[in-house]
Symmetry: D3
Subunit: 285 residues, 6 copies
């Protein structure tokens, strides 16, 4: 599901770095015990139920260590996996299997944890038109993996970073002097393909944002009654995004306001991992 | 608490990379609105109670963007902070403050989340001699930050990576043929300053490990009764580490077995963040 | 005009690389002749009339070689400069001045050449509402400089790269099966802040693009009569961009069709440089 | 024509960087529309007459994205190509073809533009012994490509950079105190394989340079009559290089002075591109 | 003997850099003379007797330049080779063979020189239980190669670097205030898998180190009589390392003191190379 | 003596890498014991007589760790230093002094060792016009330091690498078909500032090389009688370089043949280090 070009250009360099973080000179234990090239295989087992995400990344870690790695997968990205499931069998040089295990699992577990969390929340929204968004509250140097996992889980991605999306926050508005001025300065400066999003904290700000031509209005930490009024007032002249602390319980209620999007930082900053392990390593001829 | 040499050699390159992940060409919003150098300040506010960790890293993000950054701190690493506390005031070029905010917070929130989690668990162990350890189940390219946060929270660090510690796991034992053989191959190969740790799953394995001269024996997923017997049998001839799923409830009971260390992967793979925000940005002259 | 944060994060690494391209071991001539630190100054002189762009980059080259560099500027970014104008005086270690000269000028001359070219064309459009756009036909590893120069010259920037803008071309449409399908696949996949732009070659395609909800329609190599009809038919339901070989003569005529934007690859792929030289180097105490 | 070792060591890292400039997270459009590996092909078509240069680089861009890329070429480096010519067919993963297109063309067009320009000028010199040289007025981080293109066009390369050639300019002479002193300081400092070139602005300087043992004398911005006298006076005791603004018209006249070399910065700083496009993309089985 | 994972992660990047040090733009001589891909072979000949080390690294240099390189080896790592021995035949693109020769030999010669030196000294120790250690007095950016060569020669590796081993020196003791305090501060701070080594200069320091729980005591520049007493006093409660200027003559005498280890900086800082050359290059079909 | 621009562009990145080789996560010992910034000083003492080289590099290591480092030097590059001499006092953060010590000394000792060796040999040549040259037999990733040390010791540098000098060896001649052809192919391909050097093994080859217009002829492993004849035959039409195993005893005799240069690989591949140590570390206020 991750394209080969993305893998080569944007992911491989980060994986290499992660491997070098874990192996600064050599894997002493493995190199002590396996002294020659020896083909082997190992099973990837799911240890708790959830949504699989990151199997390509997991596999790529071994491929970077051994170009002849072969991965036989029994589940696809986005599949629900259950405790005890055999997810894949990986065949490679034993040393690659032993050395890459922890790094590969660290990616897979985090990505599947995020996908699982996202799936839970998007299912709560499934009867509404409201879509779930991630944020930039990602782990540093993990964004490409975490935003991908959100999509596997059924969520949508907000902007990737500060360069590819405009979001005018309260501090920006203060610095500009007014909403109108902030929007016009941004339109003048930004590449013409950018949508302009702006944060609004009350109905007056919402109205001013609409007048100034905002493409997206973030309804920030408003009570749901105000959100409902804001959505009615905006009436399709801009897209709407609800932002605030989002609990499972509240999610349906937020959707009922008619807002287009709900964003949720916790997807990437506070998901638990989904547990997997590598078992039954054995030599093959 | 992070030494200046560690910061320059081992942390700065990662922070630069994290900033470039968030700013691939420029911060379009900020550059549109703040077009000239303008000194400003902003307050770092704590939004939930916990343990502060990573303030140096948070500050360094701004220093890398503006060499004249000044940080006035009102709390120290390891302090307990409470919702609403003013933790620091940061003074720098407004553009550095706006552009660096998310990356700086992403580090601070994760590191403080880990320290908070660690503090909770170490306090449960405070009446015993058993110490809490982290693992290699860290977020890729975040290890230096996450292991440091564990120490701020009162935990101890296990090995840093595959190059600086020996841990012979079941798969290694299989590959070597026996515990004795695995230990002797490792002693022969590893730098002489390495301790040899080996995983044991039952008392027979424990006995063989002691005989073979292991420095540390990991008691892996044993029931607590067996752990107690293992500790008695080892009787100081090796250090002991309990490894398995560790819950808050069980922690005291584990310590009562007399084991030297308990390791806990969740510290780094499943801690929630501790929430902070940057507020009251204003220009200064 | 380039923010300090952009300079540090996104420009410095490229400048260092450019300097290393020119100095793979050392500047043999300069190091042979100037053997000790010696302060000096040199004048930057304009050698043909045009628009100044890139003075910050020019200066930064010397600052990277000598942290104590001081640049006294007599013109601002975007100013029209004339042959013989003294544009700036640079004071630094003589060796930095001699060693950095060519790299600094190579940037300044290209950037000013592009700004000059852009200014000429935008002036031809000044009485219309049509705006001039750049493209991705930039010199590899020079995009941040070239797109900035277009803005200094009065043009607007199209998307920065393949990651931050959607542009569905004929080949993409073929691969998707239809315009409608291409647009819906893209909306499903892309971060929600992206506008969707699509290439159309005739009025049928224009109509289909409007129906499918395109945000921007590129009118690709159409005759001007068709462009006019397309603009009328679109009637504000999407933004319009004219793309094709654009000559100075034709530019007003294109604008008269009512199109919102004209894009012009030649701005970045075929502008001549604007000539500058560094003269009157002398020692100072 | 570019050797495989040069490609791997000196070119691949730059191409990767150029691709990452264009794809900072992923190619959103292509990845939205082509979701699985799908073999395809596309034709490289020449759109204006000129000299082909950079086909290896163009091909390499796709190989870096897809290791299975195959390029069938119908023209060779240095060939004259005409509008409409089918230059090559490229077969690879459709996503590699779509994602790499612009970067590959950006290299090919610039390199062929420079080769075309160089060919024109060298043909004007074909009846004389005078050779055409490039300069260090290249685009930053493009030098290896641009100097190669000059050679494809029939020109010669001057020094590659400040480390591999000595060129004593007026400022260096001032700093040294005299021509003789500058030459002797340089001889003392430089690796013994270096030739010493020095700039001379009049016949006195020429004479002093000859006496001091210069290997090459650059006749800088002299009128052609003085150049002729200089060449006669030097009489083979040093090589001679004419430097100044060189127009097509003047070139034969310069050659008639008997100078060995003419250098021309415009080859690399102000050549127009040669236009190519990629057409007829289709899936193959 | 070097594992494939170590090669890919920890060695390849250094070899690439070494090749780029030697080829900053291209190998001008080779590219001038061999203009097309042409398979060839060359023989690696030993020119003086010693111990072979680094053949994998030597081969890897060519593989990085030409993925189709094949190396037929007639000797193994650690073998004694004699003047005139044919050590290997390398088959690859002629240009790879010519371009990589010097870099490949520079590694092989240094590594074999170190292995030869180490073998000589370890043979002098062969009748004792004392083992020979290397130090951190390695050549910058060569440590992974030099420490490996020591092992090939029969020596043991001391810590790899400052991060993976504790060694408390006199300056650290001064800074801490006492041996006891230095050891306790270190135990508190260091990862729990670290052994603590401390330098002692006299018997009082030795006793204090034992009491404070040092794992290893370095007997630094002591006369041999004191060393003997120290070893007796320590009596197995810590490992012992002799450090000082070690001559061939003295080595047996040092071993007779009963010390566990002798460390010797000269192995890596002052070994002569072992001479090899590449001969009989010829084309093959 | 190393220029500030060379240090910043070409040396700093290598020093950073060397420091990271020695400190992959942190300096555990130092950080355990010195927990706060604390100014200190340490003395650099010479431990055996020789020629000082690399003091700038030594100092730079500490400056990179602590920007406020101050070095008070009591000797200059190229000075003869004697055992016990106080060479410099370094003041910096104690942690920088402790952490940087080994890396700084590793550079200083190697560079001074090479300078000392070179000085010995050049003094043996002092009554002749023959100059001593280094070779490319340098330690990988150490060339810039080692070639500089040769110059400090009074030697001359041969070409820096394969890109900046032509040296046609026997294998190249074979590949080209003849000396004449090799020289003409090289002249055609190489940048025009390159001198052409060619290896000759007998007088016939010498004559052919002169006829073909070689700039430098390397007399490779000839007996001295043949060398003398070759020099007479060449008679100034090319420069001459003697290459072969050079012993101290033979050096004067080689010079007596009238050869211009003698090259000696041992300068960089087999010099012993010159011993220095850092002593008397103490805190300052």
């Amino acid at each position: 599901m991750i394209s080969a070009t993305t893998m080569r250009l944007n992911i491989d360099p980060i994986l290499i770095q992660a491997l070098q973080e874990d192996i600064s000179s050599e894997d002493v234990t493995t190199n002590a015990i396996v002294r020659e090239k020896q083909s082997g295989q190992v099973s990837l087992i799911c240890k708790e139920s959830g949504v699989l995400a990151g199997l390509d990344v997991f596999s790529r870690v071994f491929e970077l260590l051994d170009g002849d790695t072969q991965v036989e997968a029994f589940a696809n990205e986005g599949d629900e996996v259950r405790q005890g499931d055999l997810v894949a069998v990986i065949r490679a040089d034993l040393r690659a299997l032993l050395t890459g295990e922890r790094t590969a699992l660290n990616y897979l577990q985090r990505m599947s944890g995020i996908a699982t969390h996202t799936r839970e929340l998007t299912q709560l929204l499934s009867s509404s038109k409201t879509r779930l968004l991630d944020t930039r509250k990602t782990t540093p140097n993990m964004r490409i993996f975490e935003k991908y996992a959100v999509k596997v889980g059924g969520g949508d991605n907000h902007r990737y970073n500060l360069s590819d999306g405009i979001l005018i926050k309260d501090n920006h508005i203060d610095a500009a002097g007014s909403i109108a001025k902030a929007i016009s300065m941004t339109k003048e400066h930004a590449p013409f393909v950018r949508k302009i999003e702006i944060e609004a904290e009350n109905l007056d700000m919402v109205r001013e944002a609409v007048r100034a031509g905002a493409d997206i209005i973030m309804l920030d930490n408003m009570d749901l009654d105000t959100v409902r009024k804001a959505v009615q007032e905006i009436n399709g002249k801009a897209q709407t995004e609800y932002s605030g602390n989002v609990t499972r319980e509240q999610l349906q209620e937020i959707a009922d306001t008619g807002v287009d999007y709900v964003s949720c930082g916790a997807l990437t900053h506070s998901s638990n991992i989904l547990d997997f392990s590598m078992k039954n390593l054995k030599k093959i001829d």
